[in-house]
Amino acid sequence: MANVVKVDHDLCSGTGHCAEIAPKLFSMSDRRAWPEERTTEQAEDTELAHRAADGCPWFAISVSDSTDNEENQ
């Protein structure tokens, strides 16, 4: 199962919490966070992505199952 990790750049304020919690999934540039990979293939990554989403003080991260095929803003 693959998951799509997205950062809503209207909300992201570049605090870097996600890159600290999950350095292999997010990087910082231009005062915003960017998902490293479009999808997370492994269960371990999925858990990490959820932890980063929960830890984001701006609620800017969403993690969704790509099979939803849903545009998540």
């Binding site: 909300l11 304020s13 570049g14 919490h17 003080p57 609620f59």
Partner: protein, 397 residues
């Protein structure tokens, strides 16, 4: 006799850095008898506590070391734990995000210019806090929230009461009056709801917000609005004051800033917040015993994270006692907190402080400190000078 040197109620020095460094070196997680609490003074320790909201609750207030949790309707934002906190904070992030705040920049710049015009019209000597910094922060909060003109005076008064009350150990000398203010805001909420409000200001949005089809309780919304105004007014005002004092005390750094105000304002703001930010400490209550940097904090211990000490931790910042506007890592400071309660006003605060300080230095030649910046407001919570009086050169005519 304890060896702890940080005594913010009885002997708060204008420059606490040596005491805080001594406490951090001796033991970064230590019992402080004057506080009746555990004090945390290292960067890693402060961050660990702030990120561990499961063990360290905010419901006993983050402003006073209360003995019991606040009544539920007062558990808002900075004084709430999840899931209540999450539900409330979600109402704010969109209105206060970096992009929303950037759109307010013309307002911030125009306001600063108008306030400097007022200073110039009144003569060459002025009170930085009352004639400028306070007006910058109050006007931004009023703009963001959409506070009606007739209520501005009461919000301003409320912020002053909050400022006075954080000097006290127990708080609550003013709690009856503050409760009265929440009741008045609840009135405002009822009026706004009755009129069906269409404005895009934050008060209207909060009044009309729904979760699962239900509006929020009006007392909860009132407490939320009250906290938002209180959190936004004094902090930003003090951040402007502290930064200007830091620049004036470091003429080399000030001159470097004057040579490139546009290019350096962002960096100057963050170094100001790191070097002497308005938040000295924050309270938490340890609910279940926890480890902080390997030291046990027992269940029900009151805990003060000393943000100012974390910002001067040499493990993270080289030569921490120096005010240096060319630091690349200044923005790592913990002056906005960390974790789920990270200041939701951080984008606005940076913009307010930056536009205000830039306008001041751009327009008032020969600006200098003439009096004050020698006495601190007591208590473990804030870094704030009682008086900052300034002067500038009269325009040549």
């Amino acid at each position: 006799m304890s060896d702890v040197r940080f005594r913010p109620y009885t002997a708060k020095p204008a420059q606490p850095w040596a005491d805080l460094a001594a406490d951090r070196n001796r033991c970064p997680v230590a019992h402080n008898p004057e506080l009746g609490a555990v004090q945390v003074t290292s960067y890693a320790g402060v961050k660990e506590v702030l990120r561990d909201h499961g063990s360290f609750s905010s419901t006993y207030s983050n402003l006073w070391p209360l003995d019991a949790p606040l009544p539920e309707y007062k558990q808002v934002l900075g004084a709430a734990d999840p899931p209540r906190h999450t539900r409330q904070r979600k109402l704010l992030v969109r209105a206060m995000s970096a992009s929303k705040v950037a759109a307010m920049r013309p307002f911030s710049e125009k306001l600063a210019d108008q306030l400097v015009d007022d200073i110039i019209a009144a003569g060459t000597r002025f009170d930085l806090i009352n004639s400028y910094a306070r007006r910058v922060s109050e006007s931004h909060v009023a703009e963001l929230l959409g506070i009606p003109d007739e209520d501005r005076e009461s919000f301003s008064h409320m912020a002053k009461l909050m400022e006075l009350s954080v000097e006290e150990r127990e708080s609550h000398g003013f709690s009856a009056e503050l409760d009265g203010i929440i009741a008045r805001i609840a009135d405002l909420v009822r009026r706004r709801r009755a009129s069906g409000g269409t404005g895009d200001d934050l008060i209207t949005q909060l009044c009309l917000a729904e979760v699962d089809g239900d509006q929020f309780d009006e007392n909860e919304i009132a407490a939320l609005i009250q906290l938002l105004a209180a959190a936004g007014i004094s902090t930003t005002q003090q951040a402007i004051g502290n930064l200007v004092v830091a620049l004036e005390r470091h003429p080399g750094q000030r001159d470097a800033y004057l040579a490139d105000i546009d290019g350096l304002t962002e960096a100057v703001v963050d170094e100001g917040l790191r070097y002497d930010g308005p938040v000295m400490g924050l309270w938490r209550r340890c609910l279940a015993s926890a480890e902080v940097q390997g030291t046990e904090v027992r269940a029900m211990d009151k805990t003060l994270v000393v943000v100012a000490a974390a910002n001067h931790d040499p493990e993270v910042f080289a030569d921490p006692e120096e005010f240096r506007i060319d630091r690349e890592d200044a923005a790592q400071h913990l002056t906005f907190g960390a974790g789920i309660h990270l200041c939701v006003g951080m984008n606005l605060a940076r913009q307010e402080v930056g536009t205000a300080v830039a306008a001041l230095y751009r327009r008032l030649p020969g600006l200098r400190l003439v009096k004050g910046a020698d006495e601190q407001i007591p208590g473990p919570l804030v870094r704030s000078w009682r008086v900052i009086e300034m002067e500038y050169d009269p325009p040549a005519s």
